[in-house]
């Protein structure tokens, strides 16, 4: 059984247990309503409901523990993105984007756009541009 089927199985089991808990609880009240039963029977039914509910909660918790990403993992990934952005490898990418942005905003130079818009008449060869130190062209760094 692979992990995906295992999670699905645990999820279904959790729902069945929670539904059976609710069903047992409801059945107990119906029983009490229609006929008088002894306190032993009520205690036994409550015990059953408690055990079923506990199993359901455990299964449900297991299911979501498998599915969810912890707060620590989310923070780690977030910081990792900043580290990637500020890494020496990203420096040239940022520098080239800086130059393109400067030309775009200050000189209204939108020539870089031709590498992004493909038409039948326009063949955009990356060899038209000089390579940056990281081996990519300026527009590839922007992309």
């Amino acid at each position: 059984m692979n992990a995906l089927i295992s999670r699905k199985f645990v999820g279904i089991l959790a729902w069945l247990l929670i539904l059976s808990t609710a069903g047992s609880f409801g059945a107990m009240f119906i029983g009490l309503w229609h006929r008088s039963v002894g306190w032993e029977a009520v205690c036994a039914e409550l015990l059953l409901v408690f055990v079923l509910g506990l199993e359901g909660i455990i299964a449900y918790g297991t299911f979501f523990r498998e599915e969810s990403v912890s707060v620590g993992q989310r923070r780690q990934l977030t910081v990792g993105l900043l580290e990637k952005f500020t890494s020496p490898e990203a420096y040239i990418m940022r520098a080239e984007t800086w130059r393109i942005r400067k030309k775009w905003l200050e000189e209204n130079d939108r020539s870089c756009m031709k590498y992004f818009v493909h038409t039948k008449d326009q063949i955009n060869s990356p060899d038209e541009e000089g390579r940056c130190a990281n081996g990519l062209t300026p527009h590839q760094n922007l992309s």
Partner: protein, 85 residues
């Protein structure tokens, strides 16, 4: 660069990022590119052939506008205090 911010948005959409921390760490950087990216997307929409299928559109065209909501709070607070780029 464009696809770096696509990955930020995609991670956030998948629930794999701490949104508040992402805004604190990356919003000021994004703010520096914001106007350029907005104009870039607008220019692309103007120049791209209208026959292009939505599936064939570049990922950044849909992702960059969504970043606005992620970075909205923390980004605008810190934009005047940091240098991006």
């Amino acid at each position: 660069m464009l696809h770096f911010y696509v990955s930020v948005q995609s991670y956030h959409e998948a629930g794999l990022l701490d949104g508040k921390l992402a805004a604190t760490l990356l919003a000021s950087h994004y703010e520096w590119y914001r106007k350029f990216f907005q104009e870039f997307c607008q220019e692309y929409r103007t120049l791209a052939p209208s026959s292009i299928e939505p599936e064939a559109e570049p990922a950044w065209l849909g992702s960059l506008p969504k970043l606005e909501t992620i970075f909205d709070d923390a980004g605008r607070r810190s934009v005047n205090t940091r240098v991006g780029g």
